[in-house]
Amino acid sequence: MDDYQVQLDVFEGPMDLLVYLIRKHEIDIYDIPISMLAEQYLEYVARIEKLDLERAGDFVLMASTLLQIKSRLLLPRGDEGDEDWEDPRRELVEKIVEYMQFKEIAGHMRRLEDDSTRRAERGWSEVEYFRRSEELEPEIDATVNELILAFGRLMLRKPPPAPVHRVAREKVSSAKRARAIRALLNEKERVLFADLLPEDSSRMFIVVTLVALLEMAKRSEIMVDQAGSFGQLWIARRKLKPVGEPLDNDCDPRDGGSDADWGGADDGEAVDDKEYQ
């Protein structure tokens, strides 16, 4: 072939290859010589197949469409003036016309892109600078993209380390743990058992927490409540205040719990068994 040098990977897909062939052979798209086009097309696809079997998949479907049209054209047509007869090429032609339109638009958009990228935006935003100097959070015009990406990032991310106030080299004792739990319950009234055990808790920390809870339960300081037989364990203060806090309360930053000082949380190596024993 004269244009053997044509790079096969320049074709965006089967439609692109068709349009290339139509232009190359100056084919009138409203009267396509299907046999010739199919032949040409198959020749290219064979070459693509040799190079990249996976990519060829997209092109094979179109090849079978072309062959199907070709065979339908060969069928006897009945009367010449048959009004019900529909040109089997029609659907393909419509697709080609539509695709050519979009190629045209893409070309126009390329020119827009060229022009737009030649016009530089202001590189430094004084407005943003002021925002930051006034310690305002950056803000964005959020689209669904940002929303779903934000959610996706959160889901991909490992659960954040539980809010733990780390105190280096602090010893863990059940008494200390009990004090921490008491402080927490003073603020929150009830707390999830799981929340008392950050993900990175050492075994010793878990054991000490359990012992502290058992002791507190024995002294009737706390109650343990379970939502359903396999539900979460809640640890609650013995004397519950009436529930039903007003909205403002719910939004009170102090009721957060995340800032609460958890006291005894610690790294494994800092745990002093002896103190516990």
Partner: protein, 197 residues
């Protein structure tokens, strides 16, 4: 309040922003009518034109934004945040064209037109914030629908979607084709065009 005229106030606000700012927002902050903002912008551009300044105020993505004149492109390349060298691939451009004209559109419909699975390209366009998810089609499987974003307009320097070429401008291509001699009636080929709003 500062004794500065409308033009200078609008100039300060727009010059200090790197993004397009809506006339409504400018008007609110400056205590003007939107009409006055438009007038101020026109006055500023006239001044920049006559004094051969390096920038103009353009209508971009529903707002106003300063941009340098294209003739100075070689000097500003690589200085700002947009490097200007990363152009979209042909596949990305074709897909964007289809999304822009047929939005909201599903992945399958894009694939039907291009004959290639556009998943990779769509994802990359989502990442670049040039397209976004617009909802779901009311058809079997309720596929996600895609549309263009304000950043799409900003990237191509368009004030709105209507500034893309109209149907009538696209017909040029078709009439060239039809000149070859048409087996299909004009009415039929128009059918495909009319979807290109």
């Amino acid at each position: 309040m500062s004794g500065y005229d409308n033009m200078t106030v609008v100039e300060a606000m727009l010059f200090a922003s790197s993004e397009p700012v809506a006339a409504l927002r400018l008007a609110e902050l400056a205590g003007m009518e939107q009409e006055e903002v438009h007038t101020a912008v026109a006055g500023l551009n006239e001044h920049y034109q006559s004094s051969a300044r390096a920038f103009r105020i353009m209508k971009i993505s529903g707002g106003y934004q300063y941009r340098t004149v294209p003739e100075l492109a070689e000097y500003v390349r690589g200085l700002g945040r947009q490097s200007g060298s990363h152009k979209l691939s042909p596949a990305a451009l074709e897909t964007l064209a289809i999304v822009a004209y047929r939005q909201p559109i599903s992945r399958a419909e894009v694939e039907k037109i291009r004959g290639v699975n556009p998943v990779g390209v769509l994802k990359s366009l989502l990442e670049k914030k040039l397209v976004t998810i617009r909802g779901r089609a009311q058809v079997l499987g309720r596929p996600l629908l895609y549309g263009t974003t304000p950043d799409f307009l900003r990237y191509f320097g368009l004030s709105d979607l209507e500034s893309l070429p109209r149907e009538s401008e696209l017909e040029v291509l078709l009439s060239e084709q039809e000149a070859h001699g048409s087996a299909l009636s004009a009415a039929e080929s128009e059918g495909t065009q009319q979807e290109l709003v």
